[in-house]
């Protein structure tokens, strides 16, 4: 509104600078208007409380479901989700980011947080397995074996991300598996054109169409598959299941709500939401 006024009242001299101010103002307004979701609107009522949940990117759909169910059963409570690679979330926590709950996609990031005294004792709440996702219009791929097809564009996670570590373990074990061949892993890696920091950006890039196949968690393809994506599960014997631990954050301002949220994730309700989004039962 103020931008529009400023632009409308433009005087003739110094027109160029005034115009660029208008343009910058509009663009900034647009950017900040869309890039500050839940955090900028804390609550409509004064007594509402917000808990912040840091969750691995692969939990996107499941945690969104759990959050809205939790909000429905806890009137006046809002759940703000911060979704990213577990290792990024851990770094954010270590650097003082405010959170109440931390849900990681592997024990490594969680162990780091525990060792640094950032979180209380964690508890495993879900497991996840790897699948290959392939665009439906890629005719060259009919099985996992075809991921080695010459010139196929494949995306996997970077090694430092849990999904990247599990992917490399799986490729190594598949190379030793009789259903594949000794060079299998190397040939798949040769087709990798980008290494992403989290599974979400792999799914997004495959859906965009420029990356033809990717290795992600079963929980991702479960929700977004169907129209554009085919999935090929990696044999259970060839992979190390991803175990997801959850913990309350020590510096959190809502300890009671944080405990209630973790309890809800572990409850039958929370577990069924996870199952509906492709996760395996907690070990």
């Amino acid at each position: 509104m103020s931008n529009a006024l400023l632009c409308a009242r433009r005087t003739t001299h110094r027109r160029v600078t005034r115009e660029s101010v208008c343009v910058i103002g509009f663009v900034l307004g647009f950017v900040f208007g869309v890039s500050t979701p839940a955090s900028s609107a804390p609550a409509s009522s004064a007594w509402a409380r917000t808990i912040t949940v840091f969750a691995a990117a692969s939990l996107h759909n499941a945690m969104s479901d759990i959050a809205s169910r939790f909000e429905a059963t806890h009137p006046g409570v809002k759940v703000a989700l911060n979704l990213d690679g577990s290792q990024i979330l851990e770094t954010q926590l270590a650097n003082g980011a405010r959170a109440d709950v931390f849900a990681s996609a592997d024990s490594r990031s969680m162990d780091k947080a525990v060792a640094a005294g950032l979180v209380n004792a964690p508890i495993n709440f879900a497991a996840n397995s790897l699948v290959a996702i392939v665009q439906t219009d890629i005719m060259a791929v009919h099985s996992l074996r075809d991921l080695t097809h010459d010139g196929l564009k494949v995306a996997i996670c970077v090694e430092s991300a849990p999904c990247g570590r599990y992917t490399r373990i799986a490729l190594q074990r598949m190379s030793a598996d009789k259903a594949f061949w000794p060079n299998y892993g190397k040939q798949v890696m040769r087709n990798v054109v980008t290494q992403e920091l989290n599974v979400e950006s792999i799914v997004q890039k495959v859906m965009f169409g420029d990356i033809e196949a990717g290795i992600v968690y079963a929980s991702d393809s479960w929700q977004k598959g169907g129209i554009r994506l085919r999935t090929y599960p990696i044999p259970n014997g060839d992979q190390e299941l991803a175990i997801y631990p959850i913990a309350t954050v020590k510096s959190g301002a809502n300890a009671d709500l944080a405990r209630a949220f973790v309890a809800y994730v572990l409850s039958a309700d929370g577990q069924s939401a996870l199952r509906a989004n492709g996760f395996l039962p907690r070990p």
Binding site: Q87, K153, V158, T194, F208
Partner: protein, 272 residues
Amino acid sequence: MTDRTRSSAAAARDGFAALAGSVFAALPLALIAIAIVALLARAPFASVTGALARPVVQQALAVSLGTTLVSAIAILLTGTPLALLLARRFPGRDALEAFITLPVVLPPVVAGFALLLAFGRFGLLGHALSVLGIEVPFTTAAVILAQTFVAAPLYVIAAKNAFERIDPDVLDAAATLRAAPVYAGLRIVLPSTAPALGAALALAWARALGEFGATITFAGNMPGVTQTLPIAVYISGQSDLDAAIAISIALVAVSLVVLLASRGLQARAASR
């Protein structure tokens, strides 16, 4: 008497204004200084040189130097005619200039998405390109395109300003003497604007070197192919903080040198 009191009051007022002014002027300076000092304080010198010798860092350095060199040449060759055009007055010039400046203020991620929607397999031009067997996204060419997209406006606008400062009388005189436009361009326009163009290109090059958001969206992250220094900082920041800090310091040093060179060239341009 009254004059003297008035002037001393004015002097006091000026002094106060100068003091307040310098305090506020120091704030942005302090913000920049504290961030750079924090970066330097975290890295012992030995670990910086050690980290810079790692293959990952060397690869990223090679990708960054190669791509920014090509981007700078592309910006020079395509940006100069555009700047010459913009230096003339014509209807809609201001709007065109605002449009060209857009990539500077756009969030780089948006720029990356826009490029993907243009050159991607299902993009506006992507289909035509794939028929020709050209695939841009997630290649080194995509890195160059992203860098050129975000950095070119800095060069074009600065070059336009330099061209506008050329005395029109000199050009008129050249025309009166029947000098061919190419001759006038090479003997009059280029020599008098070269330092300013160099300064503008250095600035654009520094921006291209720092490009991150558009690159990771449009070109992805592949060591040795699309992983530039800023992307290496981000990726290794998750696991190898020493390497991330070392590359960051190298980038700060290089950027500072380029900006100083740019200022030097600007000063030379101004003294002409």
